[in-house]
């Protein structure tokens, strides 16, 4: 079970990122637990300054804009 955190104040892109992650995980057959972090303080504490930020198992892998689909697959299967 991979823990995926999406950091963002609840913008459209954050929702899209969540959909992308779930879709990729389902396609790759990886079990994920997606958690959305929308509180400004927690976002800042995670070191994210451009949203949406994406962390997989506690490691920040992406910030700002939608993640690239191919890279998302790599991060999830790593």
């Amino acid at each position: 079970m991979k823990n995926v955190k999406i950091y963002g104040p609840g913008c459209t892109r954050c929702d899209k990122t969540e959909a992308l992650v779930k879709e990729a995980a389902a396609r790759l057959g990886i079990d994920v637990e997606v958690e959305k972090v929308s509180d400004a303080r927690s976002i800042a504490m995670a070191g994210v300054i451009s949203t949406p930020g994406l962390a997989i198992d506690g490691k920040l892998v992406h910030a700002g804009g939608l993640p690239d689909a191919a890279r998302l697959d790599d991060w999830l299967s790593a």
Partner: protein, 352 residues
């Protein structure tokens, strides 16, 4: 690399030429259409059962000419800006600013404020990220003011709809206000007016992300994504702004405009600021109004003040910043920026 990503890379290379041909073709088509807008709008206006010289005739002609013109310009500006900004990111900007001496920080922050892609929805984490990386508060404010104030959309539309003279004045003074306001606030030692939790966070982490390698086609895609997102969102404001501009153009008598927004009335500049702050629209929506105001003889200083306060001081932005700034600091922020806008307004009403 998995087979799937290999396929993807292959597919990418195969479709690259779509971009190298598509973008110039789209640009050329847009440019050709742009050149035919006057005959087109006159033709459409002639189909509407009104006299061309009447009030409604003037309003319709303004609307029909401006809607395609602004949308074409907006698309081009957003695309080019999206591509250029793909070389910048808030993370890189923070690294640049964190290493600079404070006095150099203001001009660089103002410049990067224009070039760095960020949406107002992430201004809170961005603000904290900057301050916790040791970037002085004043420099951070310069960055946050310059972004909306001298945005490429406002400048580009001003250039296309009003002319290069006003666009240049706007560029120079927008920058000056962003730098000066940041510098003034930097001198005021305002750190104590941050929200408590922000001050306590000063030793926050700075995370370095691995660089994402982008090909030129990726950057063109970023530009197109921006067009979809931004033009898709602001077109309604553009239509509303042009409608208001068309009503002003068609119906407001010049004598009345001179009385209210002429250079003679001393109160017109502060009134323009007071009216502008609560108005929530974006640069693309306000420039057609500016065009109509100037066309009717409104003073340049008063109009600039109105435009700057609409774009740079918006209530929703203040509400977002309320999470990190105390009301007192927001008040100081508004007062300092508004003073810069007032000074610009009076200056141009006096010298022009």
């Amino acid at each position: 690399m998995t087979t799937e990503t290999q396929d993807l890379e292959h597919h990418k290379a195969n479709t690259d030429w779509h971009w190298y041909i598509g973008v110039p073709v789209a640009g050329l088509t847009g440019w050709l259409i742009y050149g035919q807008l006057i005959p087109f709008s006159e033709w459409v206006t002639s189909l509407v059962p009104v006299t061309r010289d009447s009030h409604p005739g003037e309003a319709v002609a303004f609307f029909v000419y401006d809607v395609p013109k602004v949308l074409l310009l907006l698309t081009a500006i957003v695309f080019i800006t999206g591509v250029l900004r793909s070389w910048f990111s808030p993370e890189k900007t923070r690294a640049i600013l964190a290493g600079k001496r404070e006095i150099l920080g203001y001009p660089i922050a103002a410049l990067l404020g224009v070039l760095t892609p960020f949406c107002s929805c992430s201004s809170v984490p961005l603000f904290i990220g900057f301050v916790s990386a040791g970037i002085p508060l004043g420099v951070t404010f310069s960055f946050l003011i310059a972004g909306p104030m001298v945005g490429p959309v406002g400048l580009g539309l001003l250039y296309g709809l009003v002319g290069w003279q006003v666009a240049t004045i706007y560029l120079v003074f927008g920058f000056t206000i962003a730098m000066m306001a940041g510098w003034v606030m930097g001198r005021m030692n305002l750190e104590r007016y941050l929200q408590d939790w922000v001050r306590e966070m000063n030793a926050g982490p700075v995370t370095d992300l691995p660089q994402e390698h982008l090909t030129f086609v990726d950057r063109l895609k970023t530009g197109l994504d921006q067009v979809r997102e931004i033009v898709g969102k602001v077109w309604i404001w553009v239509v509303i702004g042009i409608s208001i501009g068309a009503l002003i153009h068609g119906y407001v008598p010049e004598s009345m405009m001179l009385q209210i927004m002429g250079g003679e009335a001393w109160w017109s500049v502060p009134a323009a600021v007071v009216v502008g702050v609560p108005m929530y629209t974006n640069a693309a929506g306000v420039i057609p109004i500016v065009e109509a105001l100037l066309g009717k003889g409104a003073a340049v200083g008063t109009t600039l003040a109105f435009m700057m306060s609409v774009i740079a001081l918006s209530l929703p932005e203040m509400i977002i910043l309320k999470q990190v700034l105390t009301l007192r600091l927001i008040g100081i922020f508004i007062a300092v920026v508004a003073s810069g806008i007032l000074a610009t307004g009076y200056l141009f009403n006096t010298i022009l």
